[in-house]
Amino acid sequence: MAAVTAAQPRASKTESYVDNKRKEDIRQANIIAARSVADAVRTSLGPKGMDKMISTANGEVIITNDGATILNKMEVLQPAAKMLVELSKSQDAAAGDGTTTVVVIAGAILKQCLSLLSHGIHPTVISDSLHKASTKAVDVLTAMAVPLELSDRESLIKSASTSLNSKVVSQYSTLLAPLAVDSVLSVVDPEKPDMVDLRDIKIVKRLGGTVDDTQLVKGLVFDKKASHAAGGPTRMENAKIAVIQFQISPPKTDIEQSIVVSDYTQMDRILKEERNYILGMIKKIKATGCNVLLIQKSILRDAVTDLSLHYLAKAKIMVIKDVERDDIEFITKTLNCLPIANIEHFRVEKLGHADLVEEVSLGDAKIVKVTGIKDMGRTTTVLVRGSNQLVIDEAERSLHDALCVVRCLVSKRFLIAGGGAPEIELSRQLGAWSKVLHGMEGYCVRSFAEALEVIPYTLAENAGLNPIAIVTELRNRHAQGEINAGINVRKGQITNILEENVVQPLLVSTSAITLATECVRMILKIDDIVNVR
């Protein structure tokens, strides 16, 4: 390993010097670009983190605290900076939360790498050491973690509220956290207890009211009103629901067709035929006892016409039209019914049953709620309310994060303290470990350990505390064996963070560390940017 440093000054005398200079420059440019991305989101870390207002290219305004969303909308161009954006996306996919944390950690490691590189350490050596350090870090974290039972609803709520506390909607965390926990738990399949498909949780956003009015609906919610242009029913008890993928409108063929009308009486006849055709369909529907129709949106022809609505109203059938095709799977799963693609296949056994389908007005808009579904599938709907679109969007993002947190806990049932405690503990243990390592490795691992202190430092800084005093005190406490000491941002001091109920899933922390390291290693290994087709 000693040869590595020895070779550096000697190499500089040869002609390859110019080449290497350029390569160093590119690496440095990459690191600086990536770090500036990390700096951009740094201030939004933690419960007292600030929000960003983003005005997008099409004039839309987004206010958010979610790292992944900020980075996503930033439209960075520099390739290395783009990799950090990707990193945040990956964290979003892997854990759903900690999207800011992962970027901040990557930025801090990069900063350390810059100084390591300037000492003449070869990038691959740094890269390998970082990998070792991150593997070790995961071990340390796992050792710190507290196992959790799914039945322990309290703990689940605690970790969901830790995630929510850093968001705009933090004052509603008491409402949203249990909501997130309940909705995830309700979709857990007892046969496959480790798997949660968040697609089984539908979030419906509706303007009006406040976030306080957000509720979990055991059933289905449609973000549209029932079609009752012709005075059809808006409330149906003992509903028999059919999901149809055909249209109740005049026939239309795939082959191009035209009806040739030669005189007035023929026109009359055509009108009559059209009426009979539709009436025939509706009679068949009525014959099965169906009284609620969900009609899939069609681009080829009208789903319903005024005429068919009229007949449906007469037959006392409630109609909800323009259901998106993507939603059909969710709906059929929830209602435990089958979609019907043709009138000929309209049979009783394909219908779903619910106690009540009703149109409810919320503010100035209306929604349709389906409740009391018989043999309901493992799905859940959350109705998010808010006073303006910005709040609703942010509430949805925050809720998504909280759902992800709970999902993480379901798939990997370990909790870890929050508030910077795991990071500082990692930093301490890795620092100690680096002393027993030999050569460059030890040096790089120590830098890695130092980089991790960025999390408590930033947390304190964002909370308006003195970061240096806080971090040194934290270090001190951890050295004395209080591995769960962390920053209590509300009280502005250091306390045992586990007792304060600030907990987060282990998966979030471990994946943040491994993903950040992987990304940094990739950036380090790049020595050239080539423009290609």
Binding site: A3, V4, A6, A7, R10, A11, K23, N30, P79, A80, M83, E86, L87, S90, A93, A94, H122, P123, T124, D197, L198, Q245, F246, P250, P251, K252, T253, D254, I255, E256, Q257, S258, I259, V260, S262, Q266, R269, I270, E273, E274, Y277, I328, T332, P339, A341, N342, H345, T514, L515, E518, M522, K525, I526, D527, D528, I529, V530, N531, V532, R533
Partner: protein, 527 residues
Amino acid sequence: MAIERILKDDASEEKGERARMASFVGAIAITDLVKTTLGPKGMDKILQSTGRGQAVTVTNDGATILKSLHIDNPAAKVLIDISKVQDDEVGDGTTSVVVLAGELLREAEKLVAAKIHPMTIISGYRMAAECARNALLQRVVDNKENAEKFKLDLMKIAMTTLSSKILSQDKVHFAQLAVDAVMRLKGSTNLEAIQIIKKPGGSLKDSFLDEGFILDKKIGLGQPKRIENAKILVANTAMDTDKVKIYGARVRVDSMSKVAEIEGAEKEKMREKVQKIIAHGINCFVNRQLIYNFPEELFADAGILAIEHADFDGIERLALVTGGEIASTFDNPESVKLGHCKLIEEIMIGEDKLIHFSGVEMGQACTIVLRGASHHVLDEAERSLHDALCVLSQTVNDTRVVLGGGWPEMVMAKAVDELARQTPGKKSHAIEAFSRALVAIPTIIADNAGLDSADLVAQLRAEHHKEGCNAGIDVISGSVGDMAELGISESFKVKQAVLLSATEAAEMILRVDEIITCAPRKREDRM
């Protein structure tokens, strides 16, 4: 009378010295570009696309870098071509071949400057290449007879290939994956049977080999999610409507009920088609095109699992591994070959649901599911794994193995040096130059690792002076080490291909003494 103009307006002509110079410069520039990616401590490049979306690729694979470059120099294009051929033929060594060709040209440039005729250089290079190949042939190890040892060889080769890639940290894991996958092929080089699926999330270590076939599609609504002893019909047919493909075909009717009749008839036709398909006695139907709601429901009613919109790649592979045929007409059930597999079920990887076919007819088939932090990582991992698979499948056919880490180059250089001393005439200069070009490869490997290359290569040369030496560059410890002990091996076939195609390319470029650039075709909207 002087001829005024032979060529067109914009066409240009470069002759003699200048032409040769242009090709040398182009080729050497390309070499310098990719040479930092060589070896286990080689660096990566960002490829920034200037096209739409400004897509970013991070790679270490020579062929990928070269393939995507904008090149205007004809000689550089030749180098890119040999790298492509190397990729197609053996899959690995794409950087080495370009670097060796570049070094050969660099040496040739000096010789030309010393007034040695290009033809003399070429014949010297030819002799040297032949000699180098023979020298290598004498030192190959062939463990064909011993299955245990051969498997170990494969592991070593896979690890060596992977160690220069992004997968280096988990190379043991991936080498095992690659070897297992290739061993399943039982000697065929048909890599089609190995499918690679990339799913973001998790880490590279979570990647796994699955025996069977995984299709990244969804099962239709209301259809069984699990089928045992599946009979699969793979098809490429329109499942919306069979349209009359004559332009302007239309029907004229005089009443609404007739329109309804036509619609009914269309539906009926579809139903017939579905009935015909069902009549094949299948319980799984995979279509390349969309399956609309109506037929989907019919399939659901018949309890058949229907998968729509499986792309070309998907159905071809599926047809291959299940032993079926892709059908597009369904009139003769007896003549259509159905695919079979033991079990079809829905599985979940990361956040996505996929369809898993296990116990497929073609036992060789398997799927490697790659997991990783981001798309960049996954793409690069796929390229790396592909290289390893290619090399391994080649090695299974040609079981000769040589050591790695600059060892083969040193062995060849030594033999070529010997030859130079025995050859009378100017050719010996060329042969000597060839040996210098060979030594350049270990030099670059050492340079990339930040080691003192001059010192190491000198040591290496001294070591190789002894008979039967296994010395090569141990990049990890930064010294000269025994390659056999370190388990660094390469496939003989790759090395041979590198040697021969690099020599050929260098020869081709050397022969050039005139470059004629044709007038660019006029285009209105050049990209």
